[in-house]
Structures are given as C-alpha cells and as structure tokens.
C-alpha cells in the first residue's frame, strides 16, 4: 500500500468521517472484493471477513460480539480488520482478541509481521500500524478456551456503542481470562482478577464477589456524554461476574 493511501473495506468507520467532512482521502485502496483478505482458517481470520460471517461461523464469544455490531447493514459491510484498524476503545471485536491473546498480521511491500494485541493497540484509535502497512489478518491460538461468554451494555436494544463490553473465557484447567472494552483507552485484560479466580477450582459466592470487585478496581473508564465513570466501573464488575458465572456452568 502506498504511503498516504487509506485502506477501505466496509467503509463503516471511514465513510462516517468522510460524510462528516473530517476526512478527505485522496488515495483509497478499495479492498472489499479482494478475496484473499476474506480467507478464514482455524487460526487465522482474514481482515476482510465481515461481521455477518463472524456472526454465523465465528468462535462463540466473537460470534456473540458480532451479533451486536450495528445492524445487518453494518454487519454485511464492516470487517474485523476495520474494527482492528480503527481501534476504538469501544470496538466490539477487540475484547475477544485480547481474551484469546490474538495477534495482528500486518503486511507491507517488503515484509509481513505479526504484533500481539497488547502491543498493537497503543491508545485511543492509535495502533502500531505504520504508514504503508495493511492489516491482513488476525491470528488466533491453536487451542481456544472451551467456555466463552460475551456481554455488551448499551442504552438501547440494538445498534449501540458499548458502554461496557466484556469477554470472559475459562478452560478446563480453570485458567480464566477477562477482557473488557470501553473502560480504558484500549481493550484491556483484568490481570489481577484473572489471577485471583484462575487459582480457584470451584469459586464460591464470596469469591465471585471479590472477583467482581477486582475487575471494578482494575478498569480505567471515563465519564463522557454516553455514560459515567462510576457506572462503567460498577457495570464492568457486574458484567464480568455474570459472564464468569456462565463459564462455570
């Protein structure tokens, strides 16, 4: 991709900027019909795979997240690669990637590299992608946790930017991952909460309460016109606890 060129897949983020007059890209690489980008293998999802496909065929928690993205119109056009590239703190697919420790595949004319998620997302709408690089895929681990649960809080029943969203996974060994969106500048993992609960084979009610408290403490939400810091902190703990509960059943 030439420097200064802008990648366009579904347009669900870029075109909003264009329509509002915030962006006037002169060099656009249209990727919607580039078949290779939409390839999908067990451990690699092409950047061009749309939310519609993810909703139908994706790993459980990612499929659940896909179902909440926008509307059918948005899901038919928007892609995982776009979600990753925009790197909104509220990106619906990003907590899943954090939970499974996914990596982002970046292709440049001379080389292809992969960047682990926590090195890729560096700030609000800022990533480690450099000019000239194209996001070509998302790499997933061989083994995915058996139990996965996703939840997203918004102020209406469809088409919402998440106030809080969360993915909890737990595998047979008890290893638990808790990833959250909309509560920090980037998708985040609640490491301390994870550590605490992963070592407990059969968590009790008070364990779950402590787990929720740790999640609430770890998140770094803000107050904006959509919600308050206080609510996001509270809701993150409640949601994480409920999702863990589902994973334990």
């Amino acid at each position: 991709m030439a420097e200064g060129a802008v990648a366009l897949a579904g347009g669900t983020d870029l075109m909003v900027e264009v329509n509002f007059g915030h962006a006037r890209p002169m060099d656009v690489v249209a990727l919607r019909r580039v078949g290779e980008l939409a390839e999908w293998e067990p451990t690699r999802i092409g950047a061009g795979v749309t939310w519609s496909r993810l909703e139908r065929h994706g790993p459980i928690a990612l499929a659940q997240a896909a179902r909440t993205v926008g509307s059918p119109q948005i899901r038919n056009a928007g892609t995982l690669g776009g979600n990753v590239g925009t790197a909104s703190p509220a990106g619906d697919g990003l907590p899943f990637l954090a939970a499974v420790d996914a990596s982002i595949e970046l292709a440049a004319p001379t080389e292809t590299r992969t960047v682990p998620w926590h090195e890729f997302f560096v700030g609000v709408k800022r990533t480690a992608r450099v000019a000239g690089e194209l996001i070509t895929g998302v790499l997933l681990p061989e083994a995915m946790p058996e139990r996965q649960a996703f939840g997203k809080i918004g102020a209406r029943n469809a088409m919402v930017i998440a106030t809080v969203c969360c993915v909890v996974t737990r595998d047979t060994s008890g290893a638990t991952r808790v990833a959250l969106g909309s509560v920090a500048p980037t998708p985040m993992r609640a490491w301390r909460a994870e550590e605490m609960i992963s070592s407990i084979d059969k968590p009790s009610e008070s364990d779950l309460t402590e787990f929720a408290r740790l999640v609430s403490e770890e998140v770094r939400p803000i107050t904006d016109h959509r919600s308050t810091e206080e609510y996001r902190r509270h809701a993150a703990g409640v949601l994480a606890r409920r999702l863990l509960d589902r994973c334990l059943r």
């Binding site: 329509n19 509002f20 007059g21 659940q64 179902r67 909440t68 649960a149 996703f150 939840g151 997203k152 809080i153 918004g154 102020a155 209406r156 029943n157 469809a158 088409m159 919402v160 930017i161 106030t163 969203c165 016109h225 959509r226 919600s227 308050t228 206080e230 609510y231 509270h234 809701a235 409640v238 949601l239 409920r242």
Partner: protein, 739 residues
Amino acid sequence: MTTHTDRRAIQVEGTVGESPLRPDGIAKLKGEFEYAQDLESEGMLWGATVRSPHASAIIESIDIAPALSIGGVHAVLTASDVPGRPSFGLEHSDQPVLAGDKVSFWGEPVAIVAAEDADTARLAAAAVNVVYREQVPLIDPEEADLRDEVFRRMRIRRGDQEVTGPVVVEGYYEVGMQDQAPLGPEAGLAIPDGQGGVDLYATSQFVHVDHEQIVASLGLRREAVRSHPTGIGGAFGAREDVNLHIHLCMLALHTNRPVKMVYRRSESFAGHVHRHPARMWYRHTANEEGQLLRVEARIVIDGGAYASTTAAVLANASYFAVGPYRCDSVSVDGVGARTNNPPCGAMRGFGAVQSCFAYEAQMDRLAEALDMDPLELRRRNVLATGDEMPTTGQLITTPLPTAEVIETLRAMPLPDVDRTSLPGGSGLTSEPKDVVRGVGYAIGIKNLGFSEGFDDYAQARVRLTPEGAVVETAAIEVGQGLVTVLAQIARAGLGISKAEVRHVDTSKIGSAGSTSASRQTQVSGGATLEASSRLRERILEQHQGDDLNDDGVWRSGALVVPMDNLTREVWEETVTFRHPATERPDEDGQGAVHADFAVAGHRAVVDVDPELGMVKVVRVDTAQDVGKALNPDSIQGQIEGGIMQGVGLAIMEELVLENGVIRNPNFTDYLLPTILDAPDVEAVLIEEDGSWGPFGAKGVGEPPTISSTAAVAAAIRLATGKQLNRVPIRPQDISLGDR
C-alpha cells in the same frame, strides 16, 4: 355554524369509520413519492449555512471574500443582505434571519452560501471567516428567571388559596431536552419566477405562516411568494418554525437561480427547535379519603435563545399542571426562560408531556402516602364532562371519559413473563434471575386546537371533477394520514366513493393553519365535511334530486343527471371552518381558554435488570378518548408511534448540553428507539359523541405521548423502588444511588 355531529356520514365505500389504505402508500413503498430533498430544478444551485460554534458571542467581523473566491460559488449573504424585516418568529419576530452583531445560541445562522454543488457550498461555508468574541453564555433557566430573562410568566390562581389538609406530598421533577428527530431532515427548493418573486417547496407544517414570514423578510408583495406543501419526512413539531425558508428564497432571488438546501443530520439538530427541558416543583394536598384538596406547582421551562412558541408551551404546561383531576384550590407559577441554550419550541405534546411526568409521579407518591391503590386514588379524583378544569375553571362541555380510560386499562390482560426476551437484547447482559417486572399506570390530558383566543381556522375547497371529488387544501400531511381521512370525510359528506386530496399552494387557497395541536382532522376535516355536504345539498337542489352517488343525481329512483354530465358543470364549495371560540385568560389564568380536550391513559409493563439498570419496555397498553374513530388503523398508527416517542423520552432520548453546545447532535449518540425497543401495544379507542369535530371526531396525535413516558417511569419505579425524578432514566439512575 352547524354542529358537525348533526351530519350523518353517508355510507359509501371508503367513508368514515373504515380504514381505507393510504392514497400515497404505494408511491412511498416504491420510492416514487417526492420529498423536499428529492426535488430538482434545471440550473439549480445548492445552498449551505454558516453557523455559530458559540452559544454566546459578539460578532466582530465577517469576511466573505475567502468563500467568494472559491470557484463555483455564486453568492455569500449576510444580515445586511436581508431585504425586509431582519427577524422572524412564530410568536414574536425576535430571531434574526441571519445574525448581525451577535450570536445567541450554538448553531445560530450567520451567513448563507449558494454554489454549483453541495460539496462546494459546504466548503464555501467553512471558508467564511467570522471573528467572534466569546461571551459567557446564560445556560441556567433559573438564573435567567432571576435576571428576568423571560419570554412569559404564567400565573394561575383558582379557588381558596389558604386550603390545607392532612396528607401532603412534595416533589421535584425534571424532563430533559428531547428532539423531534423526524427522519427526513430540513430540505427545500426555491425557484425564482424571473419577475422578482419566488416559489418555495420546503419541509413545513404550516405553509401560510411560512409565507407571511418570508414575505416580510424579503420585503415583497404577498402575491410574489408562493409556498407549496411538499413531501415531508415527519415533523412532530420541528417543522412549525421557519429554518431554511427565508434563506433559500434570499439565495434564489439574489442569484436568480433555483437553490436547493438539505440539512445534514447534525445540522438538523442545530437547525430546529427542541422540546423544552423542564424543572417542576410540586406540592399535592389531600384528605384521608384521597380527595385532592390543593395542588401547587412551579414550572420552569428553558426556551433557549429565541421565543418560538415558548409562551404557548408554558401556557400548556401550566394549564395542564394538575392533570385530568378535579381540584378546587390550585396555584401554578410558570416561567418560560430565555437562555443561550438552543431554542425550544413545539414538540408533540407541547408542554403537557412535561407536566404529566410530574403530576403522575405525585399521584403515585400520594397513593403511597395514603396506602391506597394508585388507580383507586385517580378514580376518586377524575375530571369529567360537567366539571371545571382545575386550573382555568373552564366548564368541560365535550366528552371526557377519564373514568372509563382508567377502568379500561385496569381490565386489560397483563402479558406473561417472556424469559426469552430480556433487557439488553443481543448484548446478553441479563438472565431471568437478574430481572424484575414492574407495571405502572399514568393518565394525561391534552387540549386540541389552538387556545387562549387564537383565531383558529382552516379553509378547504371541495370540487367535483371527472376524476371524482377533489379536496383542495394547504393542510400539511406529515405522515399522520390526513390525506386519507379528508378523502373519507369528503366521501361521507358528498356520497360518492371517488375522492382524493390535492395540495395547493398559498396563492390558491386560504390557510388551513398548522398541522399541530392534533387539530387538522377536526378543523380541516370540519371544513371538508361542511364543504362536501353543502356541495351535495346544492347539487341536489339545483337538479331537484333526492340522492347523489357515483352514478349521478337520482330522483324518485330514476337517474336524472349521469355523473359525466354533472361533472361538466362547475361544482365547488370553499369553507373556512372555525372551532368554538376560546378566551384569553384573566390575570389569574381563568377562562374558557381551550377549544376541546382529549384524555388518554397508558399502562406500561417493563422488565428491569436493577443491578445494571437495563430496561426492556415489554408492553404499553392504552385507552384513548377519540370522539369518533374516523380511520381506526390510522389512529392505531398514531398511538403506536406516539407511544414509541414517549418510551424514547422515558429511557433513552436526550440532547446533552454543555455550556449551551449540543454534545450529541447525531444518531449514534441521540438514541432513537429501534424495532427491538418497541413494546407490544394494545389500544382501546373510546368513542363518545359530543365533540365539535366532524362526526364527533377528536384529534388523536398527541395524547399517546402525554402519559406514556409517565407510565414507563412509574413501572420502573415499582420494579426498582427508586424515586427516579428525572427522564430520561439512564442505567446509572437505576443501578447506582437513589434519584
């Protein structure tokens, strides 16, 4: 003037009481119906508007040269280019057509541009260099009250002001700023006629009042401007005020080219008035049996920078401050404040929505204090025909089936719990064990038609043509089904089955008044009924017939004038219909201030996840006083749409202001209910003869929004035990603390 309940509806196909399909339905479904934003004209330019980024500022200078120097720009106009009256407004001409020396609200128009295409126009608008000196905006309506920055003060005193009682309940309530958010944004096309005049096709609810303001600001003769009813994508009050109308005409006349303008959504939020945010203090006093002894209220509404219809909205909020209840000791003080917030004006419900949220919350609190069933408390105080309005003392002479509304609601079956449909929807936030159900009731009252002595009338013309009866009117169709029901009324009056409505412009017919205040079916319908009935009478008299139908004129069982012959004659009748006169109030707010009333009640069933504060409105049932249901399906549509807007105000719709600036002027962050947010609705229409509308019909558009918000709030309170004194209720209000 004949009472319209005297007229019998002629039973012909498509008459009143049936639900004939919309005449414009297929065109709309096929995408062939023309809206203002779809209009085009040869050689047309595009307009754009320069708007203030500040809520309050002095304009130090405006440099239009950078904009004019852009290729393809044909005009850049400012305040000094306004040829006639420099300001406009529905109640007072206080709003500048274009700001000259200062701006008073975020988004206030400062300059307008015409260019070859929309993009160039927007670029040019961005290039106009306005130098502002920011001022501290006045954003608190109570501060405005103290400074006497007020559009209107209301004072209502009725009965003995010293009344006391054993049970007293006080409360403070707030309603946030809702927006009409019609899906079709502001749009219009102005075409100069080459002789110094102009034809305007623009989104509007009242073309004659637009016409008046355009003529005044352009300094033209009345005949030089024609304002044409045009396809419009919804209104709900946002299209009563002038917004792009004068601008478009100015640009068209200046460039001598047709000029089109379509507002973008964020501009639309800035460019029209909103529902007044309200703060209300109440005290209800009752005896131990639950009889209301005294109601005191103070209501402050924020009118924003310019008057719009604030005086009338405040009047409504004040006159309906008690609700549909009897009470002989009432005191209401109202303030319509002037601030640097965005101007507020008409939105469906027009002040009565805000009061209802407060007085119904009060009634529930009173019921709790009395340990009485909330419906029983209401039943004991219902306002009915023959009673006096608690606020104005007006004797209610038309039907007001308040008790029946309550009993009907109570009797409607409640839905089962649906464990598959939960708050949070596909967000998977909640499980059945996290969810509590609440059922809440509210009733409300609204006036129909304009009030306080306003000369409220509508003109319609009925003509008999070879294509059937044609109703000519300037009464705007905003989607409510006026074009359907006026044709039904013409059929019922004339007795022939082919009838259609044709919109004509301001030069061809007198005013039909505003499509608002739930009035058009009654007044334009009244004019149509009168005109079609008189036409029938005249035809029969002329031809000495005893019946008129699709075949022609009949006498004693024989066809004496076939329809083909009849339509070669000229047959038309024009009627200006006025509803019963209303009075201006005296200094205590007393008088026969309103033309008619309608009462409605709602019962909301909500499922709440209290820990997260998520709400699903499962069902809203309603009983509504409609007089006579002229088109039951259309009424159902108005009810379901109005309830959805009421639900929106209850749980998700609010324009968030910060220092007078709207933080969420877009559909991502101003949340409109989606199909997944829609409750099931069961509606019972209560019909009772006696209103002056055609065949006894009452207006139906606003009552669905009056008490639906209050019912949803009541249901959430019952489910959660939270006070919830403010709407919209947000998740944090339910899950954290006590509000």
